[in-house]
């Protein structure tokens, strides 16, 4: 079996009396899209926060790229190659799309403590960023302030930034949210190709997209993973049907 | 003898702490409910002191002056809230800092305009003149004890107000969820004005009380304001309980530091320098305490749960 890129074991997080993450074990293997689904309040956000490093787990471990990252900061995990997008797009609003991606490219080079060379004349950095914008189809919009981009374009921009980090894994938090049917379809096609670059942990409510893309699905309910399996296995799983899909036919 | 002196200093520290609490409670309430940082809170303290001194001089009664200080500070607070502050709730902290800094300039110069540049003096009311004997043989002014008592009373009243009354319920709702309170049908704008005026009245009350033991002058508010900032940073912004404990901690630490450090320094350096070094270190002591607390708990001792 191939070594997983991301391996979460027995993760626990409590908020007071509430156990938001209850012994979650989950992995992400090279080349796959692993979808994480679950009803609202199942603890998906809390889990993502712990994977990214904005929240610290109470117990359990998170290994990423062969290393225990449970004690590392957000920035340190990002530098190891954990690229993510947010439920509500997170970008530097005053910067153009290009400068946003350049920021990621310069971070990848590990060189933010350079004080003298003007960044906008750094052709190498610009080229790298433009290449990423081209991949997500934002070339035309490179010089537009990110604040003026449409909802879908910001999603693309975030992905371009994750690409510029040469991520070893992508963590995409509801990328389909707020996208129209056309946008969702285009994004689904794009994510399908993205998995060759690096595996994707996909948190998503849009079941069409999940069933179309996922190699494996994990179902999170009340902080627990109640089932993990292929699309067909999950569709057939009786616990999932009663606990989550709500089918009683 | 030294024990008695230490007890006297301890009481002074508590008295300073109580006054700081009155300032800090208003600041922290205003921040907690409206999310506003108000640099001009020291000006409201000054308004209270001037109102008390002027009215006491005019009527001959400290007590009427004290009432006047409450009225004047609350009125000034309400007017400022209506005219300026309510435009700032949606602004960033920088705009709030600048606008309230501008208010300080206007309050300070405006007060100089009205009262001139010389300090006013406010006499301690006859009822509270004199001193009581402390164990150990020294005497302690009744008035300072009265300040402590008054502060404790206000602290208790504030606690009752917030935990037991309808207004208090709205304030607590406003602290935890601003949209919620609007949905409940509470008139937010009026609530904000009332909270701001309440904070102003607390500051004005503190100014009037302190006015009788210090001179009443322009610029008296800002040193207290900055100490009150230290208090709420230590206590946790938005927490009344934190403000009370922080205020007592700062008051006692500052006073006892100034009293003890020069004496302690004698053990380490020649007596000629001990006073200077001890005094200089003592003047920085509360800030050092603040730095240590922040190093351990960046959001203060009692951080608000929702932030």
């Amino acid at each position: 079996m191939v070594e997983p890129i991301l391996q979460i074991s027995n993760l626990v997080k409590n908020f007071g009396a509430l156990r938001a993450t209850d012994g979650v074990t989950l992995d992400l293997r090279p080349g796959e899209i692993h979808a994480l689904i679950g009803p609202n309040g199942a603890g998906k956000s809390t889990l993502i926060h712990q994977i990214c490093g904005t929240l610290r787990q109470d117990s359990g471990s998170i290994r990423f790229a062969g290393q225990d990252v449970g004690g590392l900061s957000v920035a340190e995990r990002a530098r190891l190659g954990l690229g993510r997008t947010f439920q509500v797009s997170s970008i530097a609003p005053e910067f153009s799309a290009l400068r946003n991606v350049m920021l990621a490219a310069q971070a990848k080079e590990g060189s933010s403590f350079r004080f003298f060379n003007p960044v906008m004349r750094d052709q190498g950095l610009i080229d790298k960023a433009m290449a990423m914008l081209e991949r997500v189809g934002l070339t035309e919009r490179a010089r537009i302030p990110a604040a003026e981009l449409s909802h879908g374009e910001r999603r693309q921009l975030e992905i371009a930034m994750a690409l510029a980090l040469r991520s070893k894994a992508f963590l995409l938090d509801e990328p389909m949210a707020g996208m129209g049917p056309e946008g969702s379809k285009a994004l689904t096609r794009f994510l399908d190709t993205l998995r060759q670059e690096a595996p994707i942990l996909l948190v998503e409510h849009d079941m069409d997209a999940v069933f179309a893309l996922a190699d494996r699905i994990s179902v999170l309910v009340y902080g627990r993973v109640i089932a993990t399996g292929t699309v067909d296995e999950i569709r057939r799983d009786p616990t999932v049907r009663s606990a989550y899909l709500g089918d009683h036919d | 003898m030294t024990i008695a002196l230490a007890l006297e200093q301890l009481l002074n520290g508590i008295q300073l702490g109580v006054m700081l609490f009155l300032m800090a409670a208003g600041l922290t309430l205003i921040f907690g409910v409206m999310g506003l940082i108000n640099l001009a809170h020291g000006s409201l303290y000054m308004v209270g002191a001037f109102a008390c001194a002027a009215v006491a001089a005019w009527t001959g009664s400290f007590w009427i002056g004290l009432v006047a200080s409450l009225v004047a500070a609350a009125a000034a607070g309400a007017i400022v809230e209506l005219a300026v502050i309510r435009r700032l709730y949606d602004r960033d902290h920088l705009d709030q800092v600048l606008a309230t800094f501008a208010l300080i300039l206007m309050f300070s110069e405006g007060t100089r305009w009205l009262f001139g540049s010389f300090p006013l003096y406010l006499d301690i009311p006859p009822l509270l003149q004199g001193a009581v004997a402390l164990p150990g043989g020294t005497e302690y002014p009744v008035y300072r004890l009265a300040i402590i008592a008054a502060g404790a009373l206000v602290a208790f009243g504030l606690y009752m107000l917030i935990s037991r009354t309808r207004l208090g319920m709205r304030i607590r709702a406003g602290e935890s969820d601003r949209e919620m309170i609007g949905a409940l049908g509470v008139d937010i704008r009026t609530l904000y004005t009332v909270v701001f005026a309440l904070g102003a009245a607390l500051a004005g009350f503190a100014g009037a009380m302190v006015g009788a033991i210090q001179s009443v002058q322009v610029g008296m508010g800002e040193p207290v304001l900055i100490l009150a900032f230290v208090v709420i940073v230590i206590g946790g912004i938005g927490s009344i309980k934190g403000a009370l404990l922080g205020a007592l901690l700062v008051g006692v630490t500052d006073t006892m530091g100034r009293f003890l450090l020069p004496k302690l320094m004698v053990l380490f350096v020649p007596p000629a320098q001990a006073g200077a070094i001890g005094g200089a270190v003592a003047s920085m002591l509360i800030y050092i305490v603040m730095a240590i607390i922040l190093a351990v708990k960046p959001r203060g001792l009692f951080p608000p749960a929702h932030a």
């Binding site: 990214c52 904005t54 900061s73 920035a75 990002a78 997170s90 970008i91 530097a92 609003p93 005053e94 910067f95 153009s96 350049m102 920021l103 990621a104 971070a107 990848k108 590990g110 933010s112 403590f113 350079r114 003007p118 960044v119 906008m120 980090l165 | 921040f31 940082i37 640099l39 300026v84 435009r87 902290h93 920088l94 705009d95 800092v97 600048l98 606008a99 800094f101 501008a102 300080i104 300039l105 206007m106 300070s108 110069e109 100089r112 305009w113 800002e222 900055i226 900032f229 230290v230 940073v233 912004i237 200077a276 003592a282 003047s283 920085m284 800030y287 730095a291 922040l294 190093a295 959001r299």
Partner: protein, 325 residues
């Protein structure tokens, strides 16, 4: 460099600041040279603060600490140079400006590192209050430390020296300050346009995003804060030499407030905002101060109106909305 409207205004400001004292000098009005020098120094101090506040979004209400530290370095080194007594560890004082500048920047940077390391663990209102409190700590230290004048301050009997320049001649000292201001502004521009500047600006706009691409916002901000403190410290040393006097008032919270006001009057984050703001401020002080003793009341009123209704400041008013590449 493209000649945008903002660049044109910047050029006019720079030329005007040079022209006014030259004309005043020719007309035998040295008072205006002093005013222009004051503008240049305050603009430099605010340029330093602008790096933290305008670029990095760090609302420091404690930059007077660095301004005053620069001032005290100039005063203390000069007084030791005069008395011949060593300052510390047998090191003697000096009346050479360039050494004073280096020491002022180093000390301001060091104190900035200490204050920033603690303050930057917090953000928002906490940061404002904590920087204010630490500056107040330095203020009280200066007041209660008797060796260098305490509350009364410290005089610099003869203005410190610069090789080959008669610094006591007002025009010469102005030119020194003017050149340093231009160097400071150029440095600000270079830093802002660099990779570091990009990270610092991004940290202001969206801290989470910066961390998510793998840059530690804390380190970026701390570095920005220290650089900012150093520039403001340098301005403080010049300010002490201008007045030939340094006192705790340079360290006061009021000074911190004024520095922020200069930036806002001129336009936050703008390259020449601090210069525009300082010129406006000194002009107010001089013009209003000539009419009424209560000029600060009107300054407050104007500031209030600017904050409530004209948030772009002077440069914003003249040059339009800021552009971000």
């Amino acid at each position: 460099m493209i000649l945008t409207r903002e660049n044109l205004i910047n050029l006019i400001l720079a030329v005007a600041l040079l022209a006014i004292p030259l004309i005043a000098n020719a007309a035998g009005q040295p008072f205006y040279i002093t005013l222009a020098t004051r503008v240049a120094i305050l603009a430099l101090a605010a340029t330093g603060l602008n790096l933290a506040l305008g670029v990095g979004g760090l609302v420091s209400f404690g930059h007077a600490a660095f301004f005053g530290i620069g001032g005290y370095v100039a005063g203390i080194l000069a007084s030791h140079s005069f008395s011949g007594e060593p300052v510390l560890f047998g090191l003697s004082g000096t009346n050479q400006m360039w050494i004073i500048w280096l020491v002022a920047m180093a000390l301001a940077g060091f104190v900035g590192l200490a204050i920033g390391a603690i303050s930057l663990r917090t953000s928002g209102v906490y940061f404002i209050m904590i920087t204010l409190a630490f500056a107040q700590m330095v203020y009280y230290f200066a007041v209660s430390w008797p060796a260098y004048g305490g509350e009364d301050g410290l005089s610099i009997l003869v203005r410190n020296q610069f090789p080959g320049v008669m610094t006591m001649v007002p025009m010469n000292f102005f030119l020194i300050c003017y050149v340093i201001l231009l160097v400071g502004i150029a440095l600000f521009a270079v830093i802002r346009a660099s990779r570091f500047g990009a990270a610092l600006q991004a940290a202001r706009q969206n801290e989470v995003r910066v961390a998510t691409v793998g840059i530690q916002p804390y380190r970026i901000r701390l570095t920005g804060f220290v650089l900012s403190a150093m520039i403001t410290g340098l301005a403080g040393a010049l300010f002490a030499d201008l007045n030939r006097f340094v006192s705790p008032s340079m360290l006061s919270w009021h000074m911190s407030g004024e520095l922020i006001v200069l930036i806002i009057l001129g336009g936050t984050g703008r390259l020449f905002g601090p210069l525009a703001g300082a010129a406006l401020y000194v002009a107010f002080e001089y013009a209003l101060g000539g009419i009424t003793e209560r000029w600060q009341f009107f300054l407050g009123l104007i500031l209030l109106l600017v904050v409530l209704f004209a948030r772009g400041g002077l440069v914003g008013l003249l040059a339009g909305k800021a552009k971000h590449g």
